[in-house]
Symmetry: C2
Subunit: 465 residues, 2 copies
């Protein structure tokens, strides 16, 4: 127990420093450097045990060479921040060390999940919060569930007979959508060629007419359009697909509508990732399904040694057979505890703050010398996409040379950021657009001063490129 | 930070009590009782925030009405016990709150995973520990990976063209195997009817001749036998399929051999769950693949915003595109830290202790009045399967009445155990065998006195049935 208290001392000191802006976000080293053993930090496992003192040293080193994702200037991903109540929830969860598959061994957590899922469905707007859902190990798996459930709804015989029992099924998603839909189409036996990518407008939103044209084309070939994924807040641009129009097309052609990320009443299923904008520690993702029974029907296999029908309690509370997993980590408690501590209003305030900061960044750089926006429009979400143009490129005319040189700017600045450990922000190309920065704000510790810092840091590091 | 220290106080006090045998394993309540609000424990979420004092009360209540899976007398599942170093590892992991998808934000954890996977492959016996692998959210997902990878190996075009591009593919597994193979066959588009269950001997081991006969029969119908799952330590009986003979048949008919649970050199892939016999906190499971490149080839989608090829470090360390997940929880650190603290020898000792306890239980009850073994043979694994026969049934002749009454005994004793909170052990029927107890021992806190207690408690609770 003394050992555990010493770990707590290490962790609380780490947390204090993480919130201190004078601490580096990371102390970067290349893989080979860490593998060679930095200052005695030996990653190799051995046959013989180490002393507990050495274990404490290993813990300190692990934190030292890691990335402080809770640092106010860490903007690399949407899952950032370090909520202390959420963290306490995780510590309790790992101390309880149980499994979501049965009420028998996780009675409180199973009920918390049920109540929280219902609350989420109410927020989506499904009547009386009815429907179904489950927490899964991340948004990609939640999206995978949505495809499986849609298939089960339209072609339940695939469960027993395989894809051979169905006609050629077509899925649709935005060319800007998350790659998890593509992973699901490969894994589940549809094939990525049967996932049709939809064209988007300049702002990255699906063009509904393109969807309808592609649905008609697929039907003319004798294929069956089955599923549409609409994204509310795409990964890079933060774009919102026009869900009303897409919902109408889905209804017209009898297709399943899945909405990735945000509440939407007309959806058949919704992926909701509290570990993103809501700042819940990783991992925390839910798949919500409007129609009851599908999740169970799709996945149940009725294992006798786990889901005995002759238990003394109401076995409908055993959620395990709805999942594609057997053991399932308790992801609910930290989220439930944060919800208790913040209330619904607290989450709303947090999201409003993030949107304010995005607007602040956008307004600050849209006319600033050396910055160029990927699109000129107030952000719909917390994503702000922009290029930094070093002085040496500012007078170059648009053309191949400028594009090639600009493409290298963001990776160089990012590398320097990581070397100096001051801040982290993502970049990528998109379609014909060369590498640009994608700022996302979900970190509750971030303030306007951190946004100012980011802008100045990019200028400082990129000025002489 | 004060709040966090108060949580630690609650958790350390919980841990102390968990290891104290005079504490109940659980304080059982039915779902409706907990939902009605036990002694003011309100599970409902609200719009307004709660005070931090109330949050602390919520945490205490959550633990109070939960199940102490680390209690020395908790035998309900193979994932039991509460290793303090593993727990410290989880607390650190949640404090670091990062994601395994890139080296960029999880440099240390990514390297730990790589080194640990290599060490595991060495233990399996693959030359130089070569091959590939990844940690996944549980054994069911690891098994799912094995089926996906086998399909990709033999029919890579399924990734793009779907199951229509392949002939009818047949999978094989024991009638005693874990239900996750069945879930995978449904999810991945094979269909559960194309998963053929293999007959077992009385001890629950696959009969190799049955496998070969079924392979030949499938081929005669024009189907393609593709994949065999062999289990080393089945869930209920703890049986070991005869892997050498199965491997020979796989080689002869060019099928993928997956081994679920234990090291086996001739396997093409292995699922290894450190959260079971090795006592690592949930979740911790790995899929190991002998041939390099398959995992990446099978799952990669090359998302530009995450796996930028122009990063400043060696991007082969970005593991994210091998996974079916996007974000992936850090499951490696607790395992790595426990391995450091115990050494390989420490894990071996722990497993030997568990096997000793199983043998102790078996020898103690095999000739004891009122106990009947499901099969009379020293346990191969830690599973011990037995019936308790109450005095009222002992003189009944074997037949329908005895079977029907005996079927109800285990559920009744289990219910009383849970009501009294003294211990927990699993039960289930299997094939034509009525409900029997399945003891599994993986809890490092358990001693012979706890085995004695279990036997006496079953006698005490079941005597008057």
């Amino acid at each position: 127990m003394q050992f555990l208290l010493e770990i707590v001392e290490i962790l609380t000191s780490y947390i204090r420093k993480t919130f201190d802006r004078s601490t580096k976000v990371l102390d970067f080293h290349h893989p080979h450097q860490l593998l060679e053993g930095m200052e005695g930090f030996n990653l190799e496992l051995s046959d013989q045990p180490e002393s507990l003192e050495q274990i404490l040293v290993d813990c300190r080193d692990t934190l030292k060479y890691g990335v402080r994702t809770g640092h106010p200037r860490f903007f690399n991903q949407l899952s950032t921040g370090l909520d202390i109540v959420g963290l306490a929830g995780e510590w309790l969860t790992s101390t309880a060390n149980t499994n979501m598959f049965t009420y028998e061994i996780a009675p409180v957590f199973v009920l918390m999940e049920q109540l929280t899922l219902k609350k989420m469905r109410e927020i989506i707007g499904w009547p009386n919060g009815e429907g179904d859902g489950i927490f899964s190990p991340g948004g990609a798996i939640s999206n995978m569930y949505s495809v499986m459930i849609a298939r089960y709804k339209f072609f339940p015989e695939v469960k027993t007979k395989g894809m051979a029992a169905a006609p050629r099924l077509i899925l649709f998603t935005s060319e800007h959508s998350h790659y998890s839909i593509k992973k699901a189409s490969a894994a589940l036996g549809f094939g990525t060629e049967n996932l049709i990518l939809l064209n988007t407008d300049e702002r990255g939103r699906v063009i509904p007419a393109d969807l309808e044209a592609k649905v008609i084309a697929a039907k003319q070939k004798g294929y069956v359009p089955m599923y549409v994924n609409a994204t509310a807040g795409t990964t890079v641009y933060g774009a919102f697909d026009p869900i009303n129009e897409i919902a109408d097309i889905c209804e017209k052609y009898n297709m399943w509508l899945h909405v990735d990320v945000r509440k939407y009443q007309q959806a058949n299923s919704v992926t909701w990732n509290p570990h993103k904008m809501m700042g819940v520690p990783l991992q925390c993702s839910a798949i919500l399904v409007r129609e009851r029974g599908l999740l169970q029907g799709c996945n149940s296999m009725c294992a006798g040694y786990l889901f005995q029908p002759d238990k003394q309690y109401d076995v409908t509370y055993d959620t395990g057979d709805k999942a594609i997993q057997c053991g399932r980590h308790v992801d609910i408690f930290k989220f439930w505890l944060m919800w208790k501590a913040k209330g619904t209003v607290g989450f709303e305030q947090h999201i409003d703050n993030c949107l304010d900061l995005s607007a602040y960044l956008y307004n600050k750089i849209k006319n600033r010398e050396g910055f160029e926006m990927v699109f000129n429009e107030e952000p719909q979400h917390t994503n702000v996409c922009f290029w930094y143009i070093p002085p040496s490129l500012r007078s170059l005319p648009d053309g191949r040379e400028r594009r090639e040189r600009l493409h290298k700017v963001a990776p160089k600045i990012k590398a320097m950021m990581m070397e100096s450990g001051t801040t982290m922000v993502g970049y990528q190309p998109q379609g014909d657009k060369v590498n640009f920065f994608r700022m996302v704000i979900s970190n509750p510790a971030a303030t306007r001063s951190d946004i100012d810092f980011l802008i100045e840091e990019i200028e400082r590091l990129g000025h002489d490129l």
